[in-house]
Symmetry: C2
Subunit: 255 residues, 2 copies
Amino acid sequence: MKTKEFRQLISKGEFAKPTAGYCTGFVQANMLVIPKKYADSFEEFGKLNHKAIPILEVIRDSYYTKILADNANLLKELPSYNIFEDGKYVRSVKNIEEYYSKDLVFFLVGCSFTFETSLINSGILLRHVEEKKNVAMYDTNIKLNKVGIFEGNMVVSMRPIKKDRVSEACVITSHFPNMHGGPIQVGYPEMIGIEDITKPDYGDSIEIKEDEIPVFWPCGVTPENVLKNVKLPFAITHSPGHMFISDRKDSEYYV
Amino acid sequence: MKTKEFRQLISKGEFAKPTAGYCTGFVQANMLVIPKKYADSFEEFGKLNHKAIPILEVIRDSYYTKILADNANLLKELPSYNIFEDGKYVRSVKNIEEYYSKDLVFFLVGCSFTFETSLINSGILLRHVEEKKNVAMYDTNIKLNKVGIFEGNMVVSMRPIKKDRVSEACVITSHFPNMHGGPIQVGYPEMIGIEDITKPDYGDSIEIKEDEIPVFWPCGVTPENVLKNVKLPFAITHSPGHMFISDRKDSEYYV
């Protein structure tokens, strides 16, 4: 199905599931919505922490996309939204029209789905995809560069890679600098403060086989985690896995 | 000094040292010389084991280069040669004119010096270069693809890389597929049959610091090692570190 048609289905409330595997070949993005008074700081924060928070589009005084899609309505064209108050999750909704005010700024942020497609197309199998699980994600001791009230540590995602494909996995993902790019760590979780690889802080535990190496990429959960930590009075995000499906092809972000 | 002038100095016997650090920016190559009856098999062996044996030029019925340099004389324009009989090293010489016969075929093979320059230029420090040591090299359990009498295991070189630069090191070196390309292993020596990282089989032992990861690349010692194993009646190689300095720029082999 075409991306625009798919988003219309979503906006009618006829699709409210995770978007992985839909509209393959098109960029999916994380979304964050915060009050205007924090937006400049957050935009700068993204720039200074680009590997973890690659901002693809910022929308002020409107809720329609210009770059990622032609006039997609961000109030209803995502399958599910999470509402946060004072840094705490309060509820999930299928439509955020009632929450909109001109005071809100929308950020669309790159997502690793894009490079995952590229890895799989190169014959590098991803266990969480094969087993239809969520990727394993971990808090780390990697400090982000602070801007204003925004600070915190990087969250990483882990994918076990066959021992002889690690270098290729680095190369392939490095071609997508706006989708988190190459790994931040290869092989040694303890070096970035992960104590127990079998117990991810987010997502599912993923088996690492004997001939595989755990490889860690900066993760799109990082900004959401920061938003919670800094306890913004109000914020909206996409619900995990329920991404914004754009009109941009993965290949447009291949560098 | 220009590469041609430098080779002329060598041919007059006025330079007989290792070539690392000379004519920076120009490709240096390994050389192997074997009898014609084995040459086709060896050329095919190189093709099927390209990461370890990237053949850059083959010269038959002559000893002058065409691709890597304009008419360099391979009998005397390398600083030192090793002579092998029945797979055994017998002596080093500065000139192989007396050993030449039309029965010999010359192979020039890519060398990791090229990608090392590129790593250093990107701010990735190489301890063996800084400490003016030889790189640490190890026999592995990685089987080469057999062709005719030619078979054996891959030899790898190890460079300790800072934990947060590993992915970049993979990317940079992968741009030089004819100079061994990206790593064959990242982080886990035991996965490729290396039991004691502190005891290399060739070269010098190189310290691995706490925030570094050992990264392994296919190594140009592989073909020499195979030649010894298969006990050819006669063979000549460059002496380790005493490479052929070509007229080709490193950047010409950047893909």
